[in-house]
Subunit: 398 residues, 4 copies
């Protein structure tokens, strides 16, 4: 039986794919797959109901733990960032695709279908995994191929009796997983348009946030957060807790310009309280336990990791190499960081670690061992070649 696995969100774009797969592409069996990465439970439930209404073989996969441990925390260790964007949707796509592949392999499916357009980043992230792990399977992207307008899609949905309630004036295009929300579209595309309050769902308006700052202490072990204010938490729980805590204080709104994979520069808005808070804490702990040279080099490693994660190259060998580097450092990223949330801002107010390159005993060791006069030779030779250079310039001039 000719089978297609459809990555299914329950929305309009992927719902119209169902009759299309049957009628236009001739698949006898349409399998719908919805992956739970921490988006709202209603969305997941709604997707399942619609799929059932349309008679697909439907799978809901709870990948929250895997996402938190192997994707979100991998990103945290790399201070996961692309041009100021704390990678969230970007790192969710590969897992969605991996789960779809697992099911497709089990069902010996012939093809995949997804709802990405031909302009964005997600087609790259989704298809890279599919093409890599099931190179023989066909991949169908109807939105990219058919170039339908929203109006045409809605009409098609009506004709096919698709049980979907959409309005023509849907303004924002939103994607969401536990590590963040991305909001695009409408007037947000204008770089000079200040984002309206209504686009935010997880964060308080800083003006209406509590008038008292809140201090919180994050405990890290081996580069990943394990406790909040002394209380141990599992990854999914901890991330959820931080989203609430930081969000309450208006922390986590990001408004930026971003360079998409195809080379288009666009304006993007993100809302990611836990990500902003935990990334700030993680970086602060690294500056405490790493040497200067490690910090400088890891900045380059992290940047490269971020570029690859943004591109969705999750199975890239270079990514594995970089993670070997990153992982070696994380062995020492253990300790606690105290932060203060207040009216939209996050400030680090203290750090503690047994692995700190700094410590009082070392500082006093330094005092004993270090005779200030020893600096003389260091200062004299500081910039020695630069002095030669200058002498040449001066002599050349004269």
């Amino acid at each position: 039986m000719k089978t297609v696995v459809l990555v299914y969100s329950g929305g309009l774009d992927t719902s119209v794919c169902i009759p299309m797969m049957r009628e236009d592409y001739g698949f006898e069996k349409v399998v719908t797959v919805t992956i739970d990465l921490g988006q709202p439970a209603e969305d997941i439930e709604e997707a399942a109901q619609r799929a059932r209404a349309m008679n697909t073989e439907h799978y809901t996969v709870d990948a929250k733990d895997e996402f938190a441990c192997d994707f979100v925390f991998a990103s945290l260790k790399a201070n996961g960032d692309y041009e100021g964007y704390p990678l969230s949707t970007a790192i969710g796509r590969p897992l969605i695709s991996l789960k779809a592949v697992e099911i497709a392999k089990k069902l010996k499916a012939d093809a995949f279908c997804h709802g990405c357009t031909g302009k964005g980043n997600d087609q790259f992230r989704i298809e890279f995994i599919m093409r890599t792990l099931m190179p023989g399977a066909e991949i169908i992207a109807p939105m990219r191929e058919k170039n339908l307008t929203r109006v045409e899609e809605i009409e098609y949905a009506k004709r096919k009796g698709i049980p979907i309630t959409v309005s023509l004036d849907k303004i924002w295009s939103i994607d969401e997983n536990m590590w963040g929300r991305s909001i695009e579209g409408g007037r947000l595309e204008e770089p000079g348009f200040a984002p309206p309050e209504e686009i935010y769902k997880w964060t308080a308006d800083p003006r209406k946030a509590p008038d008292e700052p809140q201090e919180v202490e994050i405990g890290f072990d081996g580069g990943v957060p394990v406790s909040v204010d002394g209380q141990n938490m599992k990854p999914v729980e901890l991330i959820g807790h931080m989203n609430k805590l930081a969000g309450k204080h208006g922390v986590g709104r990001i408004d930026m310009m971003e360079d998409r994979l195809l080379g288009l520069k666009v304006r993007e808005n993100y809302e990611c309280p836990a990500a902003v808070a935990l990334l700030t804490a993680h970086r602060a702990l690294e500056t405490f336990v790493c040497t200067r040279d490690e910090l400088a080099f890891k900045a380059m490693v992290d940047r490269k990791w971020g570029e690859m994660a943004y591109a969705g190259l999750w199975l890239d060998p270079l990514k594995e190499d970089l993670e070997a580097f990153i992982g070696k450092i994380q062995e020492r990223v253990t300790g606690t960081v105290r932060m203060r949330f207040f009216k939209g801002s996050t400030i680090v107010t203290g750090r503690k670690s047994d692995f700190a390159i700094y410590s009082e005993s070392l500082a006093s060791f330094d005092t004993k061992e270090f005779d200030q006069r020893d600096s003389l030779g260091i200062v004299k030779t500081h910039g020695m070649q630069q002095k030669f250079y200058h002498r040449l310039r001066v002599e050349g001039r004269e």
Copy 2:
């Protein structure tokens, strides 16, 4: 007449150097030089009075314009930062030293004297310029050579009748120029000690800052700020204005770990409202007018520039090379950035530029020219080598 030029702040350390130069080092003429980089006018006046009282030949040099244009703005173009510290004291030292050298050359002085200890960064910054531009002159650093305690210094000052009023319980060590204040010492050295409100002078406590956000629009021309809210300002005036505006909203407090030149990791606190605001705006404008590749590469160039500026290598040929790169980009860093200050935070809410890689006309050009189906080949070849790699691994395993 054996002459020494003393870099003079008017404080205890440099005041005790005056009799020392005469009595211990045998200089017949002691010249004191105080450079105005925008520190408090009282400090500069006090230094002049003390110098007069101690019968030195005193020079006060107003270098504010030169500092703003050639040092602060050079740093801004490079997004001047070292491990999170917006370089301020670090870029002031070379100019102080350059001015001291100018005077020393005019007076045909034999030696320099400065008050830096043997543990910090400033000895490197000050002496590099002196050794480079007057390689024949002796350099004397009594604090480094004599290792005096504060108590011993005060006693020495009393014995010598130095007109100075110091208390033994001076807690914080502070340095200040128009681009920022640095506050060190006392319990601030403990990485887990939250900085007390009293160390701040330019910034409001965010809790007590205005309850209404303030929007401000910075105009840039060729990488440097030229106007605020549409009103043109000269560099020194603009920086002063931004210090007040951003400071009023509690913007500009930095609490961090920092790796000193000698390799010691220390805790540092900075207060630099204008620097935080203008650096944020400058970066935002660069993300608007630069290509993705330029942004990624300039991040490396800026980092290197910051390391060299932190080290005080102001005459380094590599610094000149990097500035040629940076300067080429700045030609296009022209436009305006709108920011919002509120309770300690700075957010960019809009950008405009004729040089934006983004623009509505380009976006629509893109729509016309770009057929979504063209993406297919791009997506197919995305990560092509990575797919090969994976195939090898799989085939190897089987």
Copy 3:
């Protein structure tokens, strides 16, 4: 009159394009353009004859001087290299395309045609310039669109009476300009197949090269070579001279693996005596006049420049930024380098420059100024943070 400008080499691929443009694509006027970058004069003449025989409006553009000065020497300043390949074809393509655009603009042409396939790098290099400078013009690449086999092409040429003499057993695909030859195809695609002697045209078999080494002294001024053995030469002449001199000694054969733009790894063979000799000399002079930090950073700048030049992004703003950096350094890359050619190898045996960071007078200055005991403090603090790190590990273990 509907006009197409064809980038014309005179070979089979571009010759079959002529009737195609007329018959299949409906152009009334076919303009052929051949750009002289120093390839054999017979090839250029042959192209002109064939074009005339096929009644096109033909242009031969002598771009040798421009190529040497603005492309080859720009590459030399950047130590122009991609994975070991001294960029030659890669930097020729943009100039060919620029000249074609000049003519197309003058003639108000509607379209371009070129003979590149859809697998290689040249389509990117050629079209980037055309699309950038004449975004409205159509670009036709028949080889890419039609996927013709060589046999089909020859039959088509016969049918159309194209005056071309090709054999079916043409083995190597060759491209040539004054900076190098590239040889591909046939068994050379096998990474384990040793290249046969017959593929080389400019270099002697090292085994048959002269039994006596030859010394040669290259004079540089501002980063570009200006004399050989004391005799001033113009760029084109100097490059030609070096091709003969180094080639006589078997210098300049390169056999390597290369990663193409589309991600395919291929085996490539190059023959480029002047390029190997002059790049070696230029690098040697840079190590003499640049500081250690400049050498380390320029290595990154050069690598990026090489990647962009390989990709044909000749008008890239980042390329201009990098060239500002590179150009600043070249101001001092003035002096002479003595080399020895022998049986395929090039060795630097001496360097001289007024801008050397090294010089005997500086060395003696060093001796006077530098007291060995000054090293003590430097040695003591060498790796200070690393010592802290080790102490922590040891204490942690105990």
Copy 4:
């Protein structure tokens, strides 16, 4: 009993240290340690005899296997190079120092003594290990402290009856281990002086090398060489074999400018046939099995590793991090490389590996899967932002 451990080579500098330690520094027990890293057996034997004659407690440590496996091969994996110098002395020093520390710990020694001057690199490499692993022990460097001339040293040696035969006209300063020889001093310090034939000991004069090229096939497993021409060899044996083979053909002479740790630029000559041959082979294999992105990033990692190894920071945590990255890649650096030695040159003529990103089956897979027309979209979007940039410039101009 007050004990000092002297790193002993048997030469003049370290021999005069023995009576000095007893007479000037008051040590009751002088322990001499000579580490065998593959230098000539006579040197090691001579050192032992002299030590016995001078009544020290002498240890000869055979560290050849450890050096080959843990130092030379670690360097090979990182393509170990500093500015063109295949690190040899640089990586030998840390092991010498580690072995001295082992003995000092066993004997509970109070101090170390070494013969390095205050101008070179070795003091940093030797002392870093000692200070890190035995921070309490004193370190004495008489050559640095006393600034003796060669004549004074010889007279001192005579007075003390040191059994040493040295001439005043010793010209070259030589260091040697199995991975290379370094030759300095005398007229070699002049950058324009061609090195005389007499300084070479391991390599034939290329002019007198065999008239027939020799092909050799190196087998690698996990980044390290394990066989030559199909015959398995242990590390020390293989390195020795390659020194002879490549040396016979004049391969491995290096003449370069080098930037020392203290900032002095010097001329250096090296002779290292095995290193040049094996590094060439290792690099060639990496270009075969690594992706383009891996090659580009590893170049930066290798450069950093080389800088740290040159600086002797063998216990640096960043070095461990980089080695985690390097090690991950080496898992696939398995295969064979065929090279040709001839009259001083080394050329790679073939590569084979099961992990090649290239392979004939993949190439044919490529042909099937890759439709040339898919390139169209890729070519169209190539340099998209650069096209925007150019349009702005043009529009701005008009």
